[in-house]
């Protein structure tokens, strides 16, 4: 590996000496989570402008690339890799120097992103994910479901509540029942003609009155009037 690196360094220097329009760079091989990436030999690096396209491959060290004979211009540099995703870079090649910028897709080409160092260093920002995965049966996940917890709790109450009621003495029971009768609106106690809208609106009118007013407003703005 070291031998290749030496050769490549020599090559960089030579390439640079021969033509000012050689671009060099490498794909970062350590990603944030500490893994070391080896790029496959089919990883292509592409430099493209309106009228030119250059394609090169990853060198034997598994990370570096060199573009030779590049004419001056403004290029987009992208990496074709089946395994990793890379940002596209803007590479401006001029007589004297090379400037590299990040690009933001969907923006005008003149809108340059942050300046990047040269030689180009391009790190994959994510592995390519092509698949979706099926969720298998998981008892823990099932138990974490809030709906299930609620239903289990109610089920428990069904069994537990009568027991608690039983353990109370009859006078206390009567007191609780009276309190409940007071606090619960009569509408809930009589669910047949309960008007949800007026209950939510905070109207405390009696069930019969609220029921008739609701039906009146319905006939005023409801679909029936629209038909006529």
């Amino acid at each position: 590996m070291l031998r290749w690196k030496l050769i490549l360094i020599a090559l960089f220097l030579l390439a640079h000496a021969v033509s000012a329009y050689s671009l060099r760079g490498f794909l970062g091989s350590t990603v944030p989570n500490g893994h070391h990436i080896t790029y496959s030999p089919t990883t292509e690096v592409i430099l493209r402008s309106a009228d030119a396209k250059y394609k090169t491959y990853i060198r034997a060290d598994g990370e570096s690339f060199v573009f030779l004979n590049v004419t001056a211009g403004s290029y987009a540099l992208s990496v074709n890799s089946a395994e990793h995703l890379f940002h596209t870079l803007r590479v401006d090649v001029a007589e004297s120097d090379v400037q590299v910028f990040l690009t933001h897709r969907g923006n005008e080409w003149e809108f340059k992103g942050p300046r990047q160092p040269y030689p180009i260093e391009l790190k994959p920002f994510a592995p390519a994910v092509y698949y979706q995965y099926r969720e298998g049966f998981n008892i823990l996940k099932l138990l974490k479901n809030p709906m299930l917890i609620i239903s289990l709790l109610t089920l428990g109450m069904v069994f537990v509540l009568p027991k608690i009621m039983d353990s109370l003495d009859p006078e206390q029971l009567k007191e609780i029942q009276q309190q409940q009768a007071k606090s619960v609106p009569s509408a809930i106690a009589n669910p047949m003609n309960f008007d949800v809208a007026s209950y939510l609106a905070g109207k405390s009118s009696g069930p019969s009155a609220s029921g008739s007013s609701a039906s009146q407003s319905n006939s005023a703005g409801g679909p029936r009037s629209r038909k006529s």
């Binding site: 089946a82 969907g106 080409w109 390519a128 698949y131 979706q132």
Partner: protein, 917 residues
């Protein structure tokens, strides 16, 4: 729209945009066949077979099984016609090739043979490579007359030498000490200069003349190795004499061979026993002649008898390859002796390519097959004809249970009752043989809940339960047909070579019966074949085919439910292939000479009716498309959120034509009615810098057109434009009242809603999915130049998506989401996942029996097949469905009921009795 369709529609509208291939379905529902194309040059060694193909693919093949170890598609940087594939050292190979633009630049690259990594590359200006020689370092002779020495380690230039004026470069032979540059000059003839390998300067100023009369020789053949470098040539007008010179020989004698018989081609090789000339005669027979050289004398040692077989020299040994055997010969003064002979089955097609090494021969046949054969037999066979497909189509297989033929049904219906009864009992008795297999299959399927649990027999022509198994028939440029089995990773179901008897296949099309195909040739040959077996039913020439006429394409018409198949020729003739021609007038259009011409066929004559020319002659038509006639429409309108309807413009005659303007770098798209020639819509992209070389890619769907092009302005990228066509911009307004759309009624122009999106990759072609009944949503299938294939839901490319605001409730009901210019960033849209599907040219779709599922096949260099479900697999039980879990739940419920039942009963009883316990 019936009720079932409506309920399905509701399911489909609620389906989400993002979906992907399930990890457990990858490599199961899809397959990929990698190809290299016709081999241009090869290096055969015991450890590897390196090849460079006419499709510009450099690859290394496994010598044991022939699989591709690695390959690179050097599409734009290497032209095979000016290429040299040569070994650099034991671990690396070298490819020297001209770059395509004008072949003025040579690209040279060294690759590690095992892994495919690039070691170094260099660009040499000075023309195409004429000759290459490796002697430690690399010596390249360019067509501009330059010789360059490149370092074998880095590819950097060591020195450069230019030939004197007037000398044309012919070839180069290098050794450690000196480099012989062979040239030709009008007054000097064929000769060579000696250049010092170290200095890069002429060792002596004089041209060493080899042959004074050979000034007009365009090229010489060179064979290096075995301690001697031989160049050979023939001089026109000197009879059939072959001249050769040994460059390693200091005396530089020129020898002349007069072969025993007239020959078509020859090759000379230096071996340990002498110089072997292998010759192919004018009558197709070949032979070999062995000569020994001593001083300036040439002596014929031995000669083999002419044979139908092919003769080649590999690593100093003489091989004879025939249809049935491969032999190694020892040629001596007593003629040829067979050293060893192995019976092998080789294709019967003529040999077109042959490279031998000491270990094996790589033999290429005219039918596109390549065989690596050694003296013990055939090691492997690769079929590369599928790398170059002219036309492809899906063929439906028989349905299971179709064992009862039509003839049998008729017999049982019409025969005397007793006879019919006996026939039926017999038939059932015969069917009993399949019972055990059926029972086993039934239980397997029941236990696993998986229809794939019972594999389909690869040799049968019966489809599977859901119609996923079909044949794909490919017509290749090699003149053969190949049928691929979609259920068995694209294995060949059958193959036919040279189906049209040396005519060139133009197209294949379904015949009147669903299992029959017409294969149409350029020079008027038509074969009618059985698509399930590949058997040729009939083969004939088109009657009254014009002299010098050529078939350009196959045109089909459907008139009153009858299908008419015809061949359209360069002379503007229509030849109907299935005997009958339509009685009524039929209309069609063709793109000819950068214009669209409409024709009418009536009373056996083709009459041009209209002509659509582009606004200026600088526009060049790059592509055109029309709607698939088999595509179905379930609803004529689009229901909006407020229950009003926008009626779709369902004109089946829309022809979309795309053109680019080379000078202004702009693009234009025109929608034409191809019966009346009326221009329905046009759109110009003038203020953009369009990549005119890539052109515009087009697809026409139900009532919409989607096209894409790469441009530099306003933002750089691939633009994907959608045109949704409605009958009117007024809701609930409809012009076409009949079921069928007529191009002759004066309907107003369509109301077109358009929208553009940005796609991250370069698109090379577009296609649209087609389901069985057209209820399922449509997906746009895009092949990308990074060797992947993506799907884009058409629903995502909706021109009605609200811009810069959230959708209203009504719009949400329509399934619209807020407009976002960027589409396709998610890699889960890539249906080819990790496959590298190189060089795709076209995608075709075919529905499965299930409405949800569409079979997709892409071809070009590689072949790729998968199935997609644009609206989720709503009619298929999911793989994650757990039968055991369901049974367990039911069991748990039963247990629960069993326990709680008595409890509830006791409680109710207690309440009635008024007791608490």
């Amino acid at each position: 729209m019936n009720v079932r369709a409506l309920s399905l529609f509701l399911i489909l509208v609620t389906a989400s945009f993002v979906r992907a291939l399930f990890a457990d379905e990858a490599f199961v529902v899809d397959w990929h066949i990698r190809s290299i194309g016709s081999i241009y040059s090869a290096l055969v060694s015991p450890d590897s077979v390196a090849v460079f193909s006419e499709s510009s693919v450099l690859a290394s093949l496994d010598p044991i099984n022939g699989t591709i170890r690695w390959r690179h598609w050097l599409d734009e940087s290497a032209v095979p016609q000016h290429s040299h594939l040569i070994r650099l050292d034991s671990s690396a190979i070298l490819l020297i090739a001209a770059t395509p633009a004008d072949a003025s630049i040579t690209h040279i690259a060294a690759w590690i043979e095992d892994s495919g990594y690039l070691v170094w590359e260099a660009y040499l200006s000075g023309g195409a490579p004429v000759g290459v020689s490796v002697a430690g370092d690399v010596y390249v002779l360019l067509s501009g007359g330059m010789v360059q020495r490149l370092s074998r380690r880095t590819g950097s230039e060591v020195w450069e030498y230019s030939l004197p004026e007037g000398h044309y470069p012919v070839d180069i032979v290098a050794s450690k000490q000196s480099v012989s540059v062979i040239t030709r000059k009008q007054d000097k003839g064929l000769g060579y200069f000696i250049v010092g390998a170290e200095s890069g300067e002429l060792a002596s100023d004089n041209l060493v003349v080899i042959d004074k009369n050979a000034a007009a020789v365009p090229s010489v053949a060179k064979t290096e190795g075995h301690g001697s470098d031989i160049i050979s040539w023939t001089v026109p007008g000197e009879g059939g004499s072959i001249k050769f010179a040994n460059l390693s020989d200091t005396a530089m004698s020129v020898y002349t061979i007069d072969p025993k018989a007239p020959y078509a081609s020859f090759s000379l090789t230096s071996t340990s026993t002498g110089i072997v000339a292998t010759l192919a005669g004018l009558d197709g027979r070949s032979w070999a002649e062995l000569y020994s050289t001593s001083g300036s004398k040439l002596r014929l040692v031995g000669v083999t008898s002419p044979t139908e077989s092919t003769i080649a020299v590999g690593a100093g040994k003489l091989f004879e390859i025939s249809k049935g055997s491969i032999s190694r010969l020892a040629l001596g003064s007593d003629g040829a002796n067979v050293e060893s002979r192995t019976e092998v089955g080789l294709p019967s097609s003529p040999i077109e390519f042959l490279t031998c090494s000491s270990s094996a021969c790589l033999v290429g046949f005219k039918n596109g097959e390549y065989v690596l054969a050694n003296i013990t037999g055939v090691t492997w066979t690769r079929d590369e004809s599928i790398a170059d497909v002219v036309s492809a189509l899906f063929v439906e297989l028989e349905e299971e249970g179709e064992s009862l033929s039509l003839g049998e049904v008729l017999f049982e219906e019409n025969a005397a009752p007793l006879q019919a009864y006996i026939h039926r009992v017999k038939r059932h008795w015969n069917a009993l043989a399949g019972l055990p297999q059926y029972v086993v299959g039934f239980f397997q399927r029941f236990m696993s809940g998986d229809y794939d649990a019972v594999p389909v027999d690869p040799n049968s022509t019966v489809t599977d339960t859901f119609g996923f198994r079909k044949f794909i028939v490919l017509a290749t440029t090699k003149g053969g047909l190949r049928a691929l089995d979609t259920a068995h990773s694209g294995a060949f179901a059958w193959k036919v070579d040279d189906v049209l008897e040396s005519d060139v296949v133009v197209g294949i099309v379904h015949g009147d019966a669903k299992d029959k195909l017409y294969v149409v040739g350029k020079f008027g040959t038509v074969a009618y074949i059985n698509a399930l077996t590949g058997k040729i039913v009939t083969i004939s020439k088109i009657a009254d085919f014009g002299l010098g006429d050529k078939v350009e394409s196959v045109v089909t018409f459907v008139d009153d439910g009858v299908q008419y198949i015809s061949a359209w020729t360069a002379h503007g003739q229509l030849h109907f292939l299935n005997g009958s021609s339509p009685s009524k007038s039929v209309y069609f259009s063709k793109v000819i000479d950068n214009a669209v011409v409409g024709y009418i066929y009536k009373e056996d004559r083709v009459i041009p009716t209209w002509r659509f020319t582009l606004p200026t002659s600088s526009y060049k038509i790059t592509s055109f498309a029309s709607r698939d006639p088999d595509d179905k429409t379930v609803s004529v309108g689009r229901v909006l959120g407020d229950r009003s309807v926008l009626y779709k413009y369902l004109n089946p005659h829309i022809l979309a034509v795309a053109a680019v303007h080379e000078d202004t770098k702009s693009a234009a798209v025109f929608l034409i009615d191809d019966v009346s020639g009326r221009l329905l819509y046009s759109s110009f992209h003038d203020d953009e810098v369009v990549d005119t070389a890539a052109g515009v890619k087009l697809v026409v769907g139900e009532h919409w057109v989607v096209y894409s092009y790469w441009s530099e302005l306003a933002t750089r990228g691939e633009k994907l434009v959608v045109l949704d066509l409605y009958e009117s911009d007024v809701r609930n307004e409809r012009w076409s009242n009949a079921q069928n759309f007529s191009s002759f009624t004066e309907t107003p122009l369509p109301f077109v809603q358009d929208q553009a999106y940005l796609f991250p990759e370069h698109i090379t072609s577009l296609a649209v999915s087609r389901s069985r009944f057209g209820i399922t949503n449509r997906d746009i299938i895009a092949t990308l130049d990074n060797a992947q294939i993506a799907v884009i839901p058409k629903r995502l490319l909706d021109a009605r998506r609200p811009i810069n605001r959230d959708p209203t409730n009504e719009e949400k009901e329509e399934g619209l989401v807020k407009y976002d210019a960027l589409v396709g960033d998610d890699k889960r849209f890539i249906i080819s996942h990790v496959f590298n599907v190189v060089g795709t040219k076209k995608t075709i779709c075919n529905p499965a029996y299930l409405e949800s599922t569409v079979l997709v096949f892409a071809y070009g260099l590689d072949l790729f097949f998968t199935r997609i479900t644009p609206s989720q697999p709503f009619d298929l039980l999911s793989k994650s469905f757990n039968k055991g879990q369901l049974l367990l739940t039911i069991f748990a419920l039963m247990v629960g009921v069993r326990f709680t039942g008595p409890m509830v009963r006791r409680k109710q009883l207690n309440i009635r009795w008024g007791t608490q316990n």
